[in-house]
Every structure is written in structure tokens, then in C-alpha cells.
Amino acid sequence: MEGIGYKILGAVLTTILAFVVGMFYGGFSRKITARIQNRVGPPVWQNFLDVLKLLFKKTSVRYGFMHHIAPLWMISMSITTLMFVPVLNDGLFFTNLNFSGDIIFLLYIMVMGSLGMALGAGSTGNPNSAIGVSRGLTQMVGFEIPWVMALVALMIQYKTTSVTGLMEVQSQSGTWLMFSSPFAFIAALLAMPGMFRYSPFDIVGAPSELASGPISEFGGKYLSTMMTSGSIFAFVKLTLYVDIFMGGASNLIVLVLKTFTLYMYPVLWGTVSARFRTEQSVRYFWGWPTFFGFIALIYAAF
């Protein structure tokens, strides 16, 4: 009974941690972008104010059932994904629901949020949403291939299909997987900006081109739920990368340091580059990242 109590408490704590850290990461990225552009920039807690304000807005738009469900779908999928990613190496609260085979499960559940967004955006009937969704799914075909290749290479090499298994491998051998299987790390790292949708891969929500794409008909409470979901999901992805390639983290400070370092890579790339077109983005992902994915598979098999 006590075990279940700890698990529920751990789930709640993990969700709150993911929300707060993800929101602050968004704020820091806005601040750093502003400093690079020689501006002062908003305060780092600006995203909290945005979410709060959007929660207080009234909503009088009705587009049917799927439009209501889509933000809830997204946030529930983000939290579900969070539940299967171990946040710390061996904490009492942050281990959550791991089982053997959860990498394969994660590969599927990580795209479910985008699927919900696609369905919700489709039911609004806005042409910008439709274009955004089709671009998003095309880009997903692009970056999923090197990402899956990297993970499959790791699964073959270390003969485990669970995230905790890979973390145990790293803690036993003492080296991070980014050094012991470098090609998989390079492929996954090159595929990573596609997941975060900063420039040059922000073709989905291109603000001046598509009027923010799939979310163009979502305002108020819907948008605030989506922003919450997005910040939780950013934390989940970063934590997953840290768990798999950088040896996890033994306490929260190390976790924040590692994830923040990793997060700066798409953000800083985004500040200095312009937007790709859809086919340029796909061509990028099927070029060098997929090549390194192949090398990683060969490296793992032999």
C-alpha cells in the first residue's frame, strides 16, 4: 500500500517538476534569443504569465468534439510519456512506471500527442491548420528515421529494450553512451532539432507564413493547455536524451544542468538560422543524420 502511495506522489511531483522546469526553459530560451538579438527580452517567468492570462480568457468558439479533446489529448499524452521516462537514476519519487521494452513503447507514444493535435486542427477547418498538419507529419517522417535508427542500434548493441537497462549499462561501464556508441549519438543529436521545432525546422507553426499553423484556431484555455503540454513534453524529450546518452542524473541539479546544456543546442541553432522549406527539412534529415544512423547500425551489429 505504501508503495502505491509513493508512486502516486512521485507521479504528481514529476508532473509539477516537468511543468515548472519546462516553462522556465521556455522563458530562458526567449531571454537568450533576445540577448542574442541585442534586446532586453521578457522576464524568464513570462511563460507562466502567458499561460495564466490565457486561462483567464473566455472562450466562445465551438468546432465540435475533437476540437475540445485535442488539447486534453496532448497534455495527457505528454504526462503519459513523462511517466515512462525515469527522471533520476535511483530516486524514491522519480522512477515511475518503467518496464522492459519501454523504448519501443516510447517510440509510439511520443508521436501520439502530435496525432491528437492533427485531429483537433483538422476539425477546425482552417486551411492554415491543414497545411501545418501536413507539414508536421512530413517533417515527422523526416526526423523519426534517424532517431529510430539510433535507438534500434542501441537496442541491438546492448541487448536491452528498456531505458533503465541502458542507464544500468552506463553506470556499470562508467562511460556515457555518447562516447561508447558515438554514431548513434550523432544521429540522434542531428535529429533532435526537428523534435523541438525551432528554426530552421519551425515549418509547422511558421508564424508569419501559416499564421501559427495547427493552433491557429485554438485560443484561450485551449492554447494554455497546449503550452503546458508543450513545456512538459520538452522536458520529457530532454530527459530521455540525458537518460539514454548522457548517463542520466543522480540529482535534480545535475539533471537541470545536463538538460539545459542539451536544450541550448536547438535554441542557439534556431537564433542564427532562417526557416527551411518542407522538402529542405526532409532532405536534411534523410541526409547526414540517416547516414550516421546506418553507420550506427553497422557499428552495433558487428
Binding site: F56, S60, F218
Partner: protein, 181 residues
């Protein structure tokens, strides 16, 4: 305990604080004033430090920024856009043209006083207003929101018949629904 006046006051303070510091603007940039928006938002004057941020669609926007004169043709689109925005929403009239017509005061196809057709919360004077003036206007709007006085959206709802009558006087071929809410 709940829904009494004291707790409502606290909720109002939190609400107004959040609304004040997070303004998503939708710039309706058909007038010449739109040229002053990029310098306001970019490096030199940096409106983002006040929490002001551009928004791409009316559904997400809080502030409708009408930059300059409105032709009778574009008034129709502005009304559509304004009614698509979600409450609470604010309108900023930008430049002399929205106050009294400005240099287009005797033109046959522009409106003179914007406030007859949409509830304007803050006017920014000038032809063109400099980015400093624009930021001063936004700070004024923030003060009004803090005091709870920026209630143009409420006034529009209460006096909807009057506003609609004024709008229909200008737009002779009214081929859209009466309300676009």
C-alpha cells in the same frame, strides 16, 4: 466563503496582473502606421520586455492594433476580426486617422472616427506616432487594465445595437452574418 466580494477582489488582482503583463497583439496593418510596428518590436525599442508579443491569428490575440486610416472596405474586415477575438479584448487606435480622420478627413471612402464602430480603449496620437509613443500607449493600456477600466469589449456587448447601426450605415452591402462571434 466563495464568491464573496473579498475573494473576488483577490481573483481580480491576479487576473489583471496576468492580463497586463501578457499582451498578444494583432496588428491590422493596412494603414501607413504599420511601418512603425517593426521598430517597436525589434532590437531598438523591444516591446517584448513589457510582455507584448505578436500573435498571428485573432483567436489568440488580446489587442487589436488599428494602424492608421480605415477604408470603408477594410472596416468590414476589421469588424470580422474584432468579433473573432476572444474576451477580454482591447483596441488601440493608432495615429490621427483613427481619432478624427487625420489627413483623410474629407475622403469619400475612409471612416473618420473609429470609436463609432469599434470600442477603442487607447488612442495613440501622431502622424506617425514614433515607437516611443507606441510604447507609451501600451503602458497606458496596461495601467487601464490594472485598474480594470479597459472594458471596451463589455461596452461593445452592452451597446451592440448602436454599434451595429453605425457599422451598417457605412457598409452598404452587408453580406456577412450579423455577428461573427
Amino acid at each position: 466563503m466563495y464568491n464573496d466580494k473579498e475573494s473576488q477582489k483577490i481573483v481580480d488582482i491576479i487576473q489583471n496582473y496576468a492580463r497586463k503583463h501578457s499582451l498578444f497583439i494583432l496588428a491590422y496593418g493596412t494603414g501607413c502606421g504599420a511601418i512603425e510596428i517593426p521598430p517597436t518590436m525589434t532590437s531598438r525599442y523591444d516591446a517584448e520586455r513589457f510582455g507584448i508579443r505578436g500573435s498571428a491569428t485573432p483567436r489568440q490575440a488580446d489587442v487589436l492594433l488599428i494602424t492608421g486610416y480605415l477604408a470603408t472596405k477594410s472596416l468590414k474586415r476589421v469588424i470580422k476580426v474584432y468579433e473573432q477575438m476572444q474576451d477580454p479584448k482591447y483596441v488601440i487606435g493608432f495615429g490621427s486617422c483613427t481619432i478624427n480622420g487625420g489627413m483623410y478627413w474629407d475622403s469619400y471612402n475612409t471612416i473618420n472616427v473609429l470609436d463609432k464602430y469599434l470600442p477603442v480603449d487607447v488612442y495613440i496620437n501622431g502622424c506617425m506616432p514614433r515607437p516611443e509613443a507606441v510604447i507609451a500607449g501600451f503602458v497606458k493600456l496596461q495601467k487601464l487594465i490594472q485598474q480594470g477600466k479597459a472594458d471596451g469589449w463589455d461596452i461593445y456587448k452592452k451597446n451592440i445595437d448602436e454599434y451595429k447601426a453605425n457599422q451598417k450605415k457605412i457598409i452598404t452591402n452587408w453580406v456577412m452574418p450579423d455577428f461573427n462571434f
